[in-house]
């Protein structure tokens, strides 16, 4: 590449220096980040409207939408949230990580805009298709031989191609930064995590092409229906690793938020980096856990793949579950908060949205999402879970309570730093993670408890009023769905608070250079400590917390085996 030898001052890019972080910010990168982040938030808002409508439809006492609109809205919600909001935000994050955090430039800004355009057009097509007719009510999974109009698939494919190109551009950013001598030594851990996510994303999006392109051709009637089981395999080769992209990106955001809000640095870089590498190698096997009760696959295939070889990706998460809180604990202990086991927690910056968001995200992800995920993904246990509401219960804890909350919390910090606007309604921002988190907690628990009683997901009418036969659904389902319904409303309010703060600040906030990293709490200062290894600086509180967590994990896991062994007919 010719640019490699151009000295800094002759580059095409224009830089400003951020007064707070001292990063050299490429203005073209900044514009791209803003565009992607705004698109993300707009689609979050659209998906959010769908979520209220479908959420209230699932509460039998309200049963809001008619059947066809329910299925259309679930399709729109799944795509707007899981695909459009998350991926737009991740692209914004990738540009931030591979340009701004390395003091480097976006190599090809025009190309970046092209990718953005593809993604935007794709997302709009999908939404329009879902709104104009029942034919596109096929869910984001679009399981063949179910068939939507060709434009529906085309929208998804355009979006995916745009995302793929954007990910490739971010790799080139890093390579060029290295050649231009801006990168000495290792990548920062946060960028390392983001790059892990990007590598996973390439694999994921290629699988997506293998699934959706044949479905597109089938819809054009160029080819007969692809094999249903093979499609499921490829589709989940896309859908599952996509969740690992989200996971790796979210963990990177946790590290970033921990540093921003408490000054925490990972106590052991090796520990944290190896954990990311475990994701890279083992997590791609996970798509099989969507196929556990499918015909055509052997026990060996299913068991090996669902355990990701040997639950080594779970090990990766257990490592992060220790190392991030431990980093926060050690940072706070160094700042003098040393009372007892958990004194540092009492003195943590709870009002700071980045801290609150990180904690909510970690608790929702780890305690609810991770634990339920391991159970669902266990070969035999899947028989009592597959396609019940326990599944949405699980992933609303992971991808909503976990990833979405973390991304929301990070946004608040991007507003002064990247948008260069003053954050408005700081008090609202301060409460937002807790409101959203509480709502999601109730949604997750309500869905899980309902699914345990056999109620299926993506289902409009559990009273079976128009069906040939009734199905005995226990009366307690009304209670558990009411809990979920309350959660839906609270989470909707929490999501609205986020949109309110972000959109108000971005469009009407005072234009100003950022002057501090922290938004609410006074900035931390990290004292120099002579004896880093001293006993009172050890993360003993975190150790106690992870042990309690493990007991909770074990109790939930074992009780599911008890349910399977005690309640279910003999099956082979």
């Amino acid at each position: 590449m010719a640019v490699a030898s151009i000295p800094m001052d002759k580059q095409a890019a224009t830089f400003r220096t951020c007064p707070v972080t001292t990063f050299k910010v490429d203005l073209a990168a900044e514009k791209l980040i803003i565009a992607n982040a705004v698109a993300a938030v707009v689609f979050l808002a659209i998906g959010g409207i769908f979520s209220l409508l479908i959420g209230l439809t699932r509460v039998p006492a309200i049963h809001l939408l008619p059947a066809n609109w329910f299925y259309r809205s679930v399709t729109g919600h799944g795509l707007d949230m899981l695909v459009v909001w998350i991926v737009f935000f991740e692209i914004a994050g990738l540009i931030f990580g591979t340009a701004i955090m390395l003091n480097a430039r976006v190599v090809a800004p025009k190309f970046g805009w092209f990718n953005f355009g593809l993604m935007l057009v794709g997302a709009l097509i999908v939404n329009v298709m879902v709104l104009i007719g029942d034919e596109s009510a096929v869910m984001f999974t679009a399981y063949v031989p179910l068939k939507a109009p060709p434009l529906f698939y085309l929208g998804i494919i355009l979006f995916a191609v745009g995302a793929l190109l954007a990910v490739i551009m971010s790799f080139v950013n890093v390579v060029v930064a290295k050649r231009e001598g801006k990168l000495n030594g290792s990548l920062p851990l946060v960028v390392f995590g983001l790059i892990t996510a990007a590598i996973l994303a390439i694999y994921t999006l290629l699988n997506g092409a293998l699934a959706y392109v044949p479905a597109f051709l089938y819809s054009l009637e160029v080819i007969p229906s692809p094999d249903a089981a093979l499609y499921r395999n490829l589709m989940w080769g896309f859908g599952h690793p996509a969740q690992q992209v989200n996971l790796a990106a979210m963990v990177a955001v946790w590290y970033a938020l921990a540093w921003i809000t408490t000054g925490a640095n990972p106590i052991n870089e090796k520990f944290s980096r190896v954990a990311f590498i475990l994701y890279l190698f083992f997590i791609n096997l996970g798509s099989a856990h969507h196929l556990l009760v499918d015909p055509g696959l052997s026990f060996g295939f299913k068991a090996t793949n669902t355990s990701y070889g040997m639950y080594l990706a779970v090990l990766g998460s257990l490592i992060h579950a220790f190392s991030i809180p431990a980093a926060v604990e050690v940072a706070l202990r160094k700042q003098g908060h040393r009372q007892g086991l958990l004194g540092w927690l009492r003195n943590a910056p709870w009002k700071e949205p980045g801290f609150g968001g990180m904690v909510v995200s970690m608790v929702m992800f780890g305690w609810i999402g991770g634990v339920t995920g391991v159970v669902i993904g266990t070969e035999q246990l899947n028989m009592i879970v597959h396609n019940t509401l326990r599944v949405p219960g699980h992933f609303h804890a992971t991808v909503v309570g976990g990833t979405t909350t973390a991304f929301m919390a990070l946004t608040y910090y991007l507003i002064p730093l990247v948008f260069r606007r003053e954050l408005k309604f700081k008090n609202v921002a301060s409460w937002q993670p807790y409101v959203f988190g509480l709502g999601m907690l109730l949604v997750a628990i309500g869905f899980i408890a309902t699914g345990l009683q056999g109620v299926s997901r993506r289902h409009w009418d559990i009273s079976f009023a128009q069906a040939a036969f009734p199905s005995a659904i226990p009366g307690t389902v009304d209670l558990t769905l009411a809990i979920a319904g309350i959660g839906v409303v609270i989470a909707f309010i929490g999501g609205g608070m986020y949109l309110w703060v972000v959109l108000a600040s971005v469009f009407t906030g005072k234009k100003t250079e950022a002057n501090a990293l922290m938004l609410i709490t006074p900035m931390w200062s990290q004292p120099k400590i002579a004896d880093e290894e001293a006993e009172h600086l050890q993360p003993r509180g975190t150790f106690a917390l992870v042990i309690v967590y493990l007991f909770f994990f074990a109790a939930y896991y074992l009780s599911n085996w008890w349910l399977l062994g005690g309640r279910v007919w003999g099956i082979r």
Partner: protein, 174 residues
């Protein structure tokens, strides 16, 4: 957040190391549970399946239903079938299950499941057992009912806008 010093390959602290070993042990246990249950457990995911076609499966199911038919139910006249232990058949198509099965508690049956059109989900309620039903695949579920009563078969894989209409029935007698 900031780039680390060049050498970050440092040994782990005491608590980190302890946690790593505990976490690793837990992961080994999680892994071991699946093969152990496969060998000793009474509920395992069926692995027997064959290629078929919708026509072939429909023919086999209808011949089976005609042979052991004991009645009819609903406006659609879905046959009620009381077969002896052994091979039994059922298919799903938008939006019904065919036929209605009458089984005996404690007997073992080999249920052949397939779909004539879209993907469907076989969800036996209230005992909450769930399997995928795909076109072109004959999935053989070997089951031994251990309790009697009327069970419904809810379709729990989305099969287009009439998905919630798709319910079938299995009756288990003492």
């Amino acid at each position: 957040m900031l780039a680390p010093p060049r050498v970050w390959w440092k040994p782990l602290g005491r608590l980190e190391k302890t946690w790593l070993y505990i976490a690793l042990a837990w992961c080994v246990f999680l892994t071991a549970m699946m093969p152990l249950w496969f060998i000793y457990g009474k509920q395992n995911v069926p692995v027997e399946s064959y290629r078929t076609t919708p026509e072939q499966h429909q023919k086999a199911t209808e011949a089976f239903a005609a042979k052991y038919k004991v009645g009819e139910e609903t406006a659609l006249k879905i046959p009620v079938v009381a077969p002896p232990p052994g091979d039994i058949y059922m298919y799903g198509k938008t939006w019904s299950w065919y036929p209605i099965l009458k089984l005996k508690k404690g007997q073992t049956y080999r249920l052949h499941l397939s779909s004539l059109d879209l993907q469907h989900g076989f969800s036996l309620q209230p005992s909450n057992l769930n399997f995928m039903v795909l076109p072109h695949y004959d999935y053989v579920i070997t089951l031994t009912p251990s309790s009697s009563g009327t069970y419904s078969v809810v379709c729990n894989e989305y099969c287009f806008v009439g998905h919630h209409l798709m319910v079938g029935k299995i009756v288990v007698q003492d």
